[in-house]
Symmetry: C2
Subunit: 359 residues, 2 copies
């Protein structure tokens, strides 16, 4: 298929969301690629701490006090002391696209030694269609030098709108605590030059380290759940968002791509600390996955918000038996959507707001 | 996951099947990799023509007269004047594994310039499990230097038995006639260093050019249909086998891998001739694909043969309305299984044969 030769920058249409607890020195390496963009920094932990941002970057920064002030009681849906807080940034953004990256991720190099402009590749992924209904053996058919292979149905070659671009990591792979413990020295050195669509009906582990999405199209599904302070679970924030997002994308005929771009993940987190955060998730997951694999949404749910509310209801009904945590999570999912709609009034929501303010 | 450091050769357990109409000079390049294996050459077209095989190869050769002699009236299920005839080789083999390759495929080189031992990679793929139930973003988790990423359910990490290994092509990509016509100069130069499982419930276009499978496990599903001489369709032989095989693998909890190894595909076939062969398939396919996407097999079908017979019945019922060809094809599918069981008597089949011979 023909591809756009040059990728648009989208600099007025994209925000970069960074959750952090420390000075953002890592941005120095990203300067040539990020400086033109607006950053939304979500400061986690102690709000009195001052986070230094290298000069020349255009940013807004929110700490816990800001989150509480802006959302009021609804701030309860935003995690504290966990990078899950990043989803607050998705909510306050006014842009069409979001790119989110962890502050221990650096610029990777391709096999020729060239620095990879990760953001540019995400934009490429988001601006070209996805193919969730049939597998193409030469990977992304919309890439330059590639196409649909013999036997690919012609009626499916238009593809569907891409909602999410999931990037990967060189150096430290995104492993769970048990795998980290068993393979402390494993590094990812394999550069796989491919982008592909996750097929319809298939779940995947979505990592929040290097992720971009079309906020207008799928934003309200990108809730990173209740993790960290006061919660019985951590490190499942992006997974939760990924499972919900995948089920909703499948329902709404949207695509999710994975593969390029790579970033350089510099530092493995502490596997002992991770195990403590993960252990509940590790076995809860064995019931959560079948739930999401079989979850279906009704035809009436035609917006992301409606899908998400329907999913929250199913979570409460079917997962609360695992642990009371899921009742709390299901409620937080609803709160998240209410807060989203408050901060992002659409035509319909504006009407509702104006009615309620007249009361 | 831990991987076997050295790949077994399986030289007494694998046959290489080559359909051809010409002298097999291409084998010279493959000599270091193929010489230890037994070849089954299926000669297509004029049986009086003598096919030269380079010295030193261990082979058996079957021409049309042989096929007719061995199968009798059942030879009608084997295509003539089409490389679909290759599946006769699968049937007469007595080995556990099959590797099939086209005679215009040569040894490819990896990005470091090293010649790729395609067969060795296929064996690696077949001997390690597949993961059709959940997507692993770092591709094959069983490869050296890779593993399951965070969020991959632990209960699914054993994987399932791999039945098929689908290899790819550098240089001339496997395009349909319309794409060949539109992009006569496109070459595949992208070496994607990955092997992955095609997820459950997702169909793919299986190409017969560079393909290996576990004959004991999935052999009877690898029927390449009725193509070529006297048939209204060509170039859908491997696609047909792929669709049937995928549905049956999904039903029997078997895996199909695609990606490495690459071969060097030297010559594009004539797009005008191809269009003539393909045009029926191109639009029939639009009904065939939804048929296979929704096909389900009954719990009672626990063997590949039983699944295949059930699928043949469904083909007759649901696809015959497209064209009378599908009635003929469905009958040929049944004949194929009868012929397979005759040539490959298992314990159960042996019992049946002995009963019928006593009549």
């Amino acid at each position: 298929m023909s591809t756009t030769p040059s990728t648009p920058l989208l600099k007025d249409e994209l925000d970069i969301v960074i959750p952090t607890i420390r000075n953002l020195d890592f941005l120095e390496q990203w300067r040539p690629f990020f400086e033109k963009y607006h950053l939304i920094i979500v400061q986690d932990g102690d709000p009195s701490k001052v986070i230094k941002v290298p000069e020349g970057f255009d940013y807004e920064l929110y700490n816990r006090n800001d989150i509480n002030r802006i959302l009021g009681p609804k701030a309860s849906c935003i995690s504290f002391k966990d990078s899950a807080c990043r989803c607050f940034g998705y909510m306050v953004s006014k842009k069409k696209y979001i790119f989110t990256i962890d502050d221990d991720c650096f610029v990777a190099k391709d096999p020729t030694g060239k620095e990879i402009n990760a953001l540019q590749q995400h934009i490429k992924n988001l601006l070209s269609p996805s193919t969730p209904h049939f597998f193409n053996t030469l990977y992304d058919p919309y890439r330059e030098g590639a196409d649909f292979v013999r036997g690919y149905p012609f009626s499916m070659r238009e593809g569907v709108k891409t909602a999410v671009s999931h990037g990967l990591w060189l150096n430290i792979p995104d492993y769970d605590a048990p795998t980290q413990l068993v393979k402390p020295r494993e590094r990812n050195t394999r550069y796989v030059d491919s982008v592909m669509t996750i097929p319809k009906g298939t779940l995947f582990p979505m990592c929040g380290m290097n992720l971009a999405f079309d906020r207008e199209v799928i934003g309200p599904a990108m809730y990173f759940g209740l993790m960290g302070d006061g919660q019985p679970i951590g490190r499942y924030d992006d997974m939760w968002a990924g499972w919900c997002t995948k089920v909703i994308c499948d329902h709404l005929n949207l695509g999710i791509k994975t593969g390029l771009p790579y970033i350089w993940h510099s530092k493995a987190s502490n596997p002992f600390v991770n195990l403590k955060k993960e252990y509940n998730g590790i076995f809860w997951q064995e019931e959560i996955i079948p739930f999401f694999q079989t979850a279906t949404l009704s035809k009436e749910s035609t917006t992301v918000q409606a899908c998400y509310i329907e999913l929250a209801k199913q979570v409460k009904e079917k997962l609360s038996k695992i642990d009371p945590y899921f009742t709390k999570l299901a409620d937080a999912m609803v709160t998240w959507i209410e807060a989203w709609d408050e901060l992002n009034p659409t035509g319909e929501n504006l009407a509702k707001l104006s009615i309620s303010s007249k009361k």
